[in-house]
């Protein structure tokens, strides 16, 4: 058995070992995330198709131009804050996974708490932004923002914005719940008893995926 693997090229597909060399649950998490990527991809592509099938579109610099608590025209400032919150919470999640490799329980707990706080901060920002846009008169089926050239816009701008950022926000919410469960399991020594922190890695994959989707959503709605 061992002699075949010691030869020049490792034969991953000839049996006896995992061709992917990842744990079952982690592989399945990857496949779930791939299917979720297709769901988000379908949403974003339908947004793109509708946008290509429409004359003109509102300029995000004119739509997203306010910051809670500060008066004045501040394009993209608030969404910059949201983006950095999510990137930093992704970094603390990587650090939690890293501490898990070192079997450092208190490190995992510390970074998981920071990740959860980041997720909650992002959700709070999104709630503020939705409330603000609702005040401006935007909602599903209602769009007060004219096209970039001042011509009549369609309600699809608001429809897609609220549907897709809402779906992403729901993913952030589930990610926060998953991370809270991971934190409880960590504090109850579940992973110490198992001898590994692989579950943190799976939660981490989900959390990074949420950050990854935000990279696309943020670019498609706020920048281009």
């Amino acid at each position: 058995m061992a002699t075949t693997t010691a030869t020049t090229a490792t034969k991953y597909w000839s049996g006896g070992k995992s061709p992917f060399n990842v744990e079952y649950g982690k592989l399945m998490m990857w496949y779930f995330l791939m299917s979720d990527a297709f769901t988000f991809g379908a949403f974003l592509i339908s947004y793109g198709t509708t946008r290509f099938a429409t004359n003109g579109w509102p300029n995000p610099n004119h739509v997203f131009n306010s910051f809670p608590g500060i008066q004045g025209n501040l394009p993209l400032l608030f969404v910059s804050l949201m983006t950095f919150i999510l990137i930093l919470s992704s970094v603390t999640m990587v650090l939690a996974v890293h501490e898990g490799h070192n079997m450092n329980k208190s490190g995992v707990a510390k970074y998981l708490i920071l990740t959860i706080l980041g997720g909650l901060a992002f959700l709070g920002c999104q709630a503020l932004e939705w409330t603000h846009l609702h005040h401006e008169g935007a909602w599903w089926g209602r769009n007060p923002f004219p096209n970039a050239d001042g011509s009549t816009s369609t309600t699809n701008f608001a429809n897609f914005f609220f549907t897709i950022t809402g779906f992403h926000g729901f993913h952030v919410f589930s990610g926060v719940i998953i991370n809270i469960i991971m934190l409880i399991m960590t504090l109850k020594d579940k992973f110490e008893q198992r001898g590994h922190y692989l579950m943190i890695e799976k939660a981490g994959l989900y959390w990074h995926f949420v950050d990854l989707v935000w990279v696309f959503v943020f670019t498609c709605f706020y920048l281009i």
Binding site: F20, V22, A53, F84, G150, T152, H196, T219
Partner: protein, 145 residues
Amino acid sequence: MEQITTAAIHHDKNVGGGRKEIFRVTIILSVLTIIELALGFSMYYITNVLTIHFIKGVIIILMLAKAFYIVGYFMHLKHELKNMIMTIVVPLLLFVWFILAFLTDGSSFNNLKNRYDGYYKEHMSQPMQKKEETKEEPEKKGTAD
């Protein structure tokens, strides 16, 4: 049995660069985001359509670079076996076809509407009245309705 295989995978895992790599990727992602935001903001002042299309193209390339760093380093895919990378990346190549096909279809539909639907073209080119231009200042705070 289950415990043994899990432990074996855990031990011979290629962990990657550790904290140093995490720090480096964080810096790269932050810099890319700042460049993206600066480019997005620059379109506030630019009116030339070709320049805007060029900037949007650059932003999309930066977005793909960010996606690469998140998937490759944070999600650790770059340090996995090639078999593992291929089983995830190859199906996602379908997106290339989806995007090309659907966006082309959308733009063709728009051309047909503009050519044959007089009402659509007329209606869409009307200037839109801004409803609450003056109401905006006092209602700035995002508090509950």
